[in-house]
Amino acid sequence: MDTDAVVSFDHVSPEDSHEVHVLAVDDSLVDRKVIERLLKISACKGFFLDGKIAVTAVDSGIRALQFLGLDEQRRTSESDGFVPSLKVDLIITDYCMPEMTGYELLKKIKESSMFREIPVVIMSSENVLPRIDRCLEEGAEDFIVKPVKLSDVKRLKGYMTTKEVKVGSHDRGSGVEINNKRKLEEEEETSDMSSSPPSISTLSSSPSVSSPSSSPTSSPTVLASPIRRLKMSTTD
């Protein structure tokens, strides 16, 4: 594993309040490059607010925690180039990584009072139901099956925590539903998922993440049935 380019980041200035900042975590250099490009092109195409995005890509969960300032080693935050508490709007992480899995990273983030509100999306090449369930139960917003496509990244808009876009957890329901649906459709090689979560613009801009509101797309049975169907489909 080469030691250069293990962290790449764009300059994020605190004044860019409309700029979306995504932290991508993946031990594969190839995947980091691809996810970074996917995120940037999504921003250009207007899938994210104002089209401005900054991506920080790191190669491990440990580096991700260091970046957030959550690692145990850190005593002071100055004099080592550390940029404190850059607002992170989304964390997208690979599941299978040496030393610290994406799941373990997810747990650490959700255990932190400062960072637990940041939406976390897990990526994995393995379509393993117990793994997906475990991640969602631990608070992951969504689970993307690799290889990651543009249509997967389009979905992420719904999880952003910028002021203008606050989503209730009904999107979590539709996120899972769509994701599972995509896995089922993968075999048939259909085109991009054109159905996306309900329009974000209809949501209020209340800062708190509310408990499930009454929404036609989200109900326990809707959530359960795609997963039941998944159990019957073949996996790797």
Binding site: M1, D2, S28, L29, V30, D31, K33, V34, R37, L38, I41, C96, S125, K146, P147, V148, K149, L150, E189, D236
Partner: protein
């Protein structure tokens, strides 16, 4: 002797189609091509170059594991899994498929099976590398001739 841009473009089209048709590349490669634009004109080349480096390291590491006595099957499986991931990410379908073949052999600690897989892997990677390098050369020549390709 230079071919004109139109001839080169025809060759490119034919070569690319063949690569998809013969299963060397899958839809994920198209996904990557769609991510390339004027602001990132070498995106695919850069990703593929990283993939080549990755491939060579992984294959070398897997060979080393197989040479150990006893062979480190757990590590081989881990490398194969890693390689399967990166090949999937670039759309290298045949390489990905061979990577998937390692698992049962690793689980049963079948050295011969693993060695044969590795040979297959080296073969597939080598073919893919040649084909892709030719593809990039055609693209380069088209650009140099003042042309463009979608």
């Amino acid at each position: 002797m230079t071919m004109d841009v139109n001839q080169l473009r025809a060759k490119l089209c034919e070569h690319q189609s063949a690569m998809f048709h013969q299963g060397f590349l899958d839809d994920q490669f198209s996904q990557l091509q769609n991510l390339q634009d004027e602001s990132t004109p070498d995106f695919v080349l850069e990703v593929v170059t990283m993939f080549f480096d990755d491939s060579e390291n992984l294959i070398k590491n897997m060979a080393r594991c197989l040479e150990q006595v006893p062979a480190d099957f757990k590590q081989i499986d881990a490398y194969a899994h890693q390689y399967k991931g990166s090949s999937a990410s670039v759309g290298a379908a045949r390489v990905k498929s061979v990577c998937a073949n390692f698992r049962p052999f690793c689980e049963t600690k079948n050295l011969d099976g693993c060695m044969e897989c590795l040979q297959q892997l080296q073969h597939e990677y080598s073919l893919l590398k040649n084909h892709l390098q030719y593809l990039f050369k055609l693209q380069k020549d088209i650009k140099a001739g003042g042309g463009s390709f979608s």
